[in-house]
């Protein structure tokens, strides 16, 4: 169950990527991506936010001085976004607030993708009882709304560190992804190069992870990005619920601050709320544009003539 449920194609239309000779498929993907406006915009957005969040803190420093007497000061030339409840510079907080979000998002997505690829590839390739079991399992896990499940887990067990958060989110999100991977593996399984490898008696490990999976590289990339959007949605949600570690500064905590402490209703607090929300929305938007464009590239049928 994904927060940003992928457009129909990710599951129903299984694109068949060509095995390329010469230019690496990822490079070709990249060049085609930059040719489409929405893909280019998406890529720029994501890169901009990543750069800001990774390099920004090195520039402005991670400690933010605050003078409570100047709480909620309006934006000025010195403080573009004004000051927040403890007198700290909102813009400064914004810049250093992205790191954790990105880190958790990408880490969780990586965990999800690795698990989903491993299980999906094996289930798709071997079929049989293992496959049936996995399908049943994913069916059941997908029934519970992801955020509710995460909220409950977060409530029962303390999520002490961002890494733990990423781990939990990552581990609980693999079912949906696994189905996509499995579908793709099922279609690739019938191709000649797999048959050839089988005849060569190469051993299933090499076939599955050496032949099939590399052929799905771009498809896996798309699903990885979708997993990132998913993870970010889940993570920010958990921060809002106060279930994620409230230490440090990140966009999620900023919004949680505003939400639970009533800053929402304070007109002066608007920049403090809107800023992190905007960052998250822009990030998600960029990621979604990327996935849409990548899907169109892989599956030309989707392109509007």
């Amino acid at each position: 169950m994904t927060a940003t449920s992928p457009p129909v194609p990710a599951e129903q239309n299984v694109p068949t990527p060509a095995k390329s000779a010469g230019v690496s498929p990822l490079r070709r993907l990249f060049s085609e991506l930059t040719r489409s406006t929405s893909g280019f915009v998406g890529l720029c957005l994501v890169l901009a936010i990543v750069l800001l969040s990774v390099i920004g803190p090195m520039g402005v420093g991670t400690s933010v001085p605050g003078d409570p007497a100047r709480a909620w000061e309006a934006p000025s030339g010195q403080h573009w976004l004004g000051l927040e409840g403890a007198g700290k510079d909102t813009l400064h907080l914004l810049i250093i607030g992205g790191r954790t979000v990105l880190m958790v998002g990408f880490l969780a997505a990586t965990i999800t993708t690795v698990i989903a690829v491993a299980i999906g590839a094996l289930a798709g390739y071997f079929g049989g009882r293992f496959d049936a079991l996995m399908l049943q399992l994913t069916d059941i896990v997908m029934t519970v709304p992801q955020i509710v499940l995460l909220a409950v887990v977060g409530a029962f067990y303390k999520l002490d560190s961002p890494t733990l958060l990423a781990l939990i989110v990552g581990v609980l999100s693999w079912p949906v992804l696994m189905r996509s991977i499995r579908a793709q593996v099922l279609s690739l399984k019938e191709r000649e190069f797999v048959e050839a490898a089988q005849l060569l008696d190469v051993g299933w490990v090499r076939i599955v992870f050496g032949e099939i999976v590399p052929n799905m590289a771009s498809y896996i990339l798309i699903n990885f990005i979708i997993a990132v959007t998913n993870a970010i949605y889940a993570m920010v949600g958990l921060y809002l619920l106060g279930l994620a570690p409230q230490r440090g500064v990140n966009w999620g905590i900023m919004i949680n601050d505003a939400w639970t402490k009533g800053a929402m209703f304070n007109p002066d607090a608007m920049p403090y709320i809107i800023a992190p929300v905007t960052m998250i929305v822009l990030l998600q938007l960029g990621l979604i544009l990327l996935t849409r464009t990548l899907e169109e590239i892989l599956n030309p049928r989707l392109r509007d003539r």
């Binding site: 977060g154 029962f156 304070n266 709320i273």
Partner: protein, 370 residues
């Protein structure tokens, strides 16, 4: 194909059955249909059971589980003995932590079957079931109504987009849909409040929050119905805006595919009226993939309800869950999780049944040669 000559295409006069299979199959077909329902019911019950067991595992068996935490707390803070603490726990969780595990599990299941999910720790004296029963209808109302509106609008938009590809509506909905898709539903709710109410003042937040205006009593009257509609507007708008784009895109993809199918061309060749083709030939077939998505989207909306209801002070199970989490009211959390899951499972079941009703291939099984 060779079966053709042997079975179905027997030349006339060679004993073609007077009561064709279909009539015998009438009762057989009924049986299959019913067993389809039965099968789905059994499957749904199974899923619920698995989730309930999973919850039990989390609540009771994993290290650091809430029951142990509660008991230890009682012992540490109030100096109670283990037996006393366990007895208190039983009050809330409905199974006695001192008894063997299998006993606890059975008690737990037994309680569930009787609708007994324990008592609230945060509000003593109130059972979990009571409280949920009070909050659940509001969520079902707002989410359900929003889902219906969202699907209807999305459906119409999607069909228009498919018929007029590249047109204004196509581009507009794609862009706006993508935009809204990128906004997590909880953030949208916050934005609505911050921008709409606080900044712009167009939304009268204080009047619109909550479920119902003070002084309006629940009765089947226009006043009551319009009042709860008024209060449900903000949460519903949030749900609708975040999902309508998805529905439109799914419907567009589905309709586009159906429009390319042979039977649509044949329908035009047959000189059928356009209106008939659009509804019975294109519409009914394009709808099918949508139904499969209903349960997923419903689950997604219900998940978002946790935040949306909190933001708008709308007293549904989402708000309940949020509060329970804050107060660490474990029996309540557990109860809400189960109820939410059961709701989604039932939604799944309904979607499957509707699908079977609309698609004879599912209802009667993939046929092939009759």
């Amino acid at each position: 194909m060779a079966a053709d000559a042997v079975t179905a295409d027997a030349p006339p006069g060679t004993g073609a059955p007077d009561r064709p299979d279909r009539h015998v199959g009438e009762s057989l077909g009924h049986r299959i249909y019913h067993s389809f329902i039965l099968r789905r019911l059994v499957r749904s019950a199974f899923v619920i059971w698995v989730v309930a067991t999973g919850v039990f595992l989390m609540v009771r068996l994993l290290p650091g589980n809430p029951v142990d935490v509660y008991i230890n707390q009682q012992i540490a803070l109030y100096g109670k003995s283990y037996e006393q603490a366990a007895a208190e726990a039983q009050n809330y969780f409905r199974f006695d932590p001192a008894t063997p595990i299998w006993r606890q599990y059975l008690d737990y299941l037994w309680g569930l079957l009787h609708g007994d999910m324990g008592s609230s720790i945060a509000t003593p004296g109130v059972t979990v079931t009571e409280k949920i029963a009070h909050y659940l209808p509001w969520t079902l109302y707002s989410v359900g109504l929003a889902l219906v509106i969202s699907i209807t609008i999305g459906l119409l938009l999607g069909m228009i987009m498919a018929y007029r590809r590249g047109g204004i509506i196509d581009h507009a909905v794609s862009i706006i849909g993508s935009g809204f898709h990128a906004i997590p539903n909880y953030l949208l709710a916050i934005l609505i409040v911050v921008v709409g109410a606080v900044q712009l003042g167009v939304i009268d937040y204080t009047r619109m929050r909550g479920n119902v205006s003070p002084g309006v009593s629940p009765e089947l009257s226009f006043r009551f119905l319009s009042d709860i509609g008024y209060h449900a507007t903000l949460p519903m708008i949030t749900y609708i805006l975040t999902t309508v784009g998805t529905w439109a895109l799914i419907m567009k993809a589905s309709t586009t595919q159906v429009l390319g199918e042979d039977y649509v061309t044949v329908a035009r060749a047959r000189g059928l009226k356009d209106s008939r083709i659009q509804t019975n030939y294109v519409g009914r077939n394009a709808l099918l993939p949508l139904i499969a998505q209903i349960a997923t989207q419903a689950g997604f909306i219900v998940g978002g309800a946790i935040f949306v209801e909190q933001t708008f002070s709308y007293e549904g199970v989402g708000l309940l869950l949020f509060e329970s989490i804050n107060t660490r009211d474990y029996p309540m959390i557990q109860g809400v999780l189960l109820v939410v899951t059961i709701t989604v499972v039932l939604a799944n079941l309904c979607a499957d049944l509707v699908n079977a009703a609309l698609d004879p291939r599912i209802r009667l099984g993939e046929g092939g040669a009759a």
